[in-house]
Structure formats: C-alpha cells, structure tokens
C-alpha cells in the first residue's frame, strides 16, 4: 500500500527471454534417439555452408544439391556412431568431402572430368620456384565473369584431393588440423597437397592475378 492508501501496482516485466539455441551436441543427442526434427535443425544450420563447399568442388548446382542430400542422408544413418571426438561440423564436413570426392572420382573414371595430378608432378619441381605460365596475356585486364570461368576451369583440372585442400584452406579458412580431420589424413599430407595444389593453380592462373 502507498502512503495515501492506494494500492501500489508494480508492473514487473521480465527481461525478454532470448530464444534458447540448442547446442549441436544437444541436437545430435536427440538425433541419436531418432528425432528427425532435431536433425532438420542441424541441416538448417549447416546446409548453406555445406552446399557452397560442394558447389565449389563440382561447379554444378544440381550436382551440389544431390550430393548435399546424399551427404546429409549418410550423416543421419551414421549419427548413432558419432561419439563427439570432433565437432559435429568437422564430422559432417568429412562425410560431405567423402561423398563429393567419391563422386568426382566416379565421374573421372566415367570420363566426364579431366583433372590430372600429373600437371604438378610433371611440370613443377618443388625445389624450383618457377611455375610455368599459361595463356599469359600481359597487361590485359580480365573481366569478372572470365576470371571466374578461368578459376573454375583451373579447379576442375585439380584432383579431388587437391581441390578439397585448396578450397578448405583458401575459401573456408580452415586450419591444417581441421582439414586433416575432415579428409582423414595427416597434417603433413595436407601441407604437401596444399603446396602442389597452389603450384598448379599458380601455373594456370598466374596471368590472371598478375594482371588484375
């Protein structure tokens, strides 16, 4: 009561509760009990990054969609075996990489792609810093679309493993250990692949980045 006898009414307004965003681990635990809604939330969380990563590997929207679907389906099937030694994203990334690399290898076997590891091995001596030039057009400015086309063409000539390391490192900014975990290989292998992938890309794109 107030001094003049009027009842005091206080409006107690609770601070607006921030929506609780479940951790990946909580969602994974629910998935492991068959909760597809939890899995859908994880998919929503990572589908964009996963799709972009796959698209940069295969350069085709429909293929990227199908491979992402395939990868998420595999993740659902094996999520019961996920023990949390790595982050969920690293684990998912590894599945997606395996699916994508397998697909690229299959297409290579079927003759649809022309990537060639020998580009680097034949033309690039690791002890030599001279990378061969290709299609060099000195002082010629290249339009954005053409640059993108040149980059895509260069990436498509890399082996799936070299594509993976250079995209994970340069585009996704992943550390060597994360890349190694995602690809299931050693850090040394990652660094070595990165060395050759860069050399190959430099040999194919030197005129582009030198003339920008």
């Amino acid at each position: 009561m107030s001094l003049d006898g009027e009842p005091v009414t206080r409006s107690i307004t609770a601070p607006a509760a921030a929506p609780v965003v479940p951790e990946d681990g909580d969602l994974v635990a629910r998935c492991q009990h068959g909760d597809t809604a939890a899995f859908s939330e994880l998919v929503t969380r990572y589908r964009g990054k996963v799709y972009a990563m796959i698209y940069n590997m295969v350069h085709n929207e429909q293929d990227a969609w199908d491979l992402a679907q395939d990868g998420f389906l595999k993740a659902w099937k094996s999520i019961a075996r996920f023990r949390g030694q790595s982050s969920f994203y690293t684990w998912l990334y590894r599945i997606m990489m395996n699916v994508t690399i397998d697909s690229l290898r299959r297409r290579h076997v079927e003759g649809e792609t022309e990537f060639d590891d020998s580009i680097g091995l034949r033309n690039i001596d690791p002890n030599s810093f001279t990378t061969p030039r290709t299609e060099a057009l000195p002082n010629e400015k290249i339009a954005g679309d053409e640059i993108r086309a040149r980059i895509d063409a260069a990436i498509s000539r890399l082996s799936p493993e070299h594509r993976a390391v250079i995209l994970m490192r340069e585009i996704d900014g992943m550390e060597y250990q994360e890349i190694a975990d995602s690809l299931g290989c050693s850090i040394g292998t990652v660094m070595s692949r990165l060395f050759y992938a860069r050399k190959k890309m430099q040999s194919m794109l030197r005129d582009v980045y030198e003339n920008l």
Partner: protein, 170 residues
C-alpha cells in the same frame, strides 16, 4: 621431419615460428625467388577468395523436406523394430519334418497297430460270432471281460458242454 613442401606451405601461411622459421629462412637465402613465390601464393589466395562465391542454396525449405522424406522412406527398412532372428522352423523345414513324421507314423502303423487291430478284429469277430450264434441250450451264457492281470480278453462261456471244433481258440 618436415619435407620442403610442408615447410614452404607453413611459411606461406605464417605457421612457421621460432627456430623452425629461422632455419627455413636460412635455407631460402640461396633461393632469392622464394619471396616472390610466397607473394604469388598469397595473391592466388586473394584471387580465389575474391572470385569464388557459390550461389545460395535455392529452396532451402524444400531441401529439408526432400531430405526428411528420404529419411522416412528409408526408416522402415533400417530403424523399425529390430528384425526377429530367423526361426529354426522355416517353411521348408516344417514341410520336411511333417513328411518325415508322417512316414514314421505310417511305419509305426504298419508295423505295430495293424497287427494288434487284426488280432482284435479277429477276436472281436470270434466273440461276435459266438455272441451272435444261436444256441438251443438256454443254459449257455457267454461273458466277455478283459483281464488286466494277464492283459487278455477273456470269453467266459457258462453251460457250454463242448467247444465246436471250428470255434476253437487258437
């Protein structure tokens, strides 16, 4: 022990430190073009980051919908009630066992039951014959019973003076 490629990559990415970095830079002193190569690698990275951009995922909700549909389609095969372990009594085994038991029963029947039946039938026929036989002598009475002690059927005839030859028990 890192290879040259590994050390060069770590050097480009700024991951070499301390004594390792100093040792590698000493190694590179004999290679004046190394700095230019490092610069080229960094330029390549900038080029890729500036020009590689994946288009956004179209119809993201449909993406989830399609995925969940695939999961539901596969669930009955994989995550439904655990499959029962196959029973020993498969259909072929049941059929074979039935036929075998039928054969055993037939053998048993032909080996044991029919003989008994024949004897019983024979005895019954004999008793029947006797019981149905007319006797002029009203003092003759016939009684039949089973002797548990001897496990035989006994035909007890009272008042019968003699046994006709053709009705002699064998």
């Amino acid at each position: 022990m890192k290879t040259f490629e590994e050390k060069f990559t770590a050097w480009v990415d700024g991951r070499l430190t301390g004594a390792e970095l100093a040792a590698f830079e000493r190694e590179l002193e004999a290679r004046p073009e190394a700095t230019a190569e490092k610069q080229a690698a960094l330029q390549l990275g900038d080029l890729l980051r500036a020009h590689i951009a994946a288009p956004p995922l179209r119809n993201p909700d449909f993406f989830n919908h399609q995925l969940l549909q695939s999961i539901r389609q596969q669930q009955p095969q994989s995550s439904s009630a655990p499959r029962r372990s196959p029973s020993f009594w498969s259909l072929p085994r049941m059929a074979f066992s039935g036929a075998f038991l039928l054969l055993l029963a037939t053998i048993f029947y032909s080996a044991a039951v029919p003989n008994t039946r024949r004897e019983v039938r024979h005895n019954q026929q004999y008793v029947s014959n006797i019981l149905n036989a007319r006797s002029d002598d009203p003092d003759i009475t016939a009684t039949s019973f089973h002797s548990k002690e001897n496990n035989v059927n006994v035909l007890w005839l009272d008042g019968l003076g003699y046994m006709p030859r053709d009705h002699k028990l064998k």
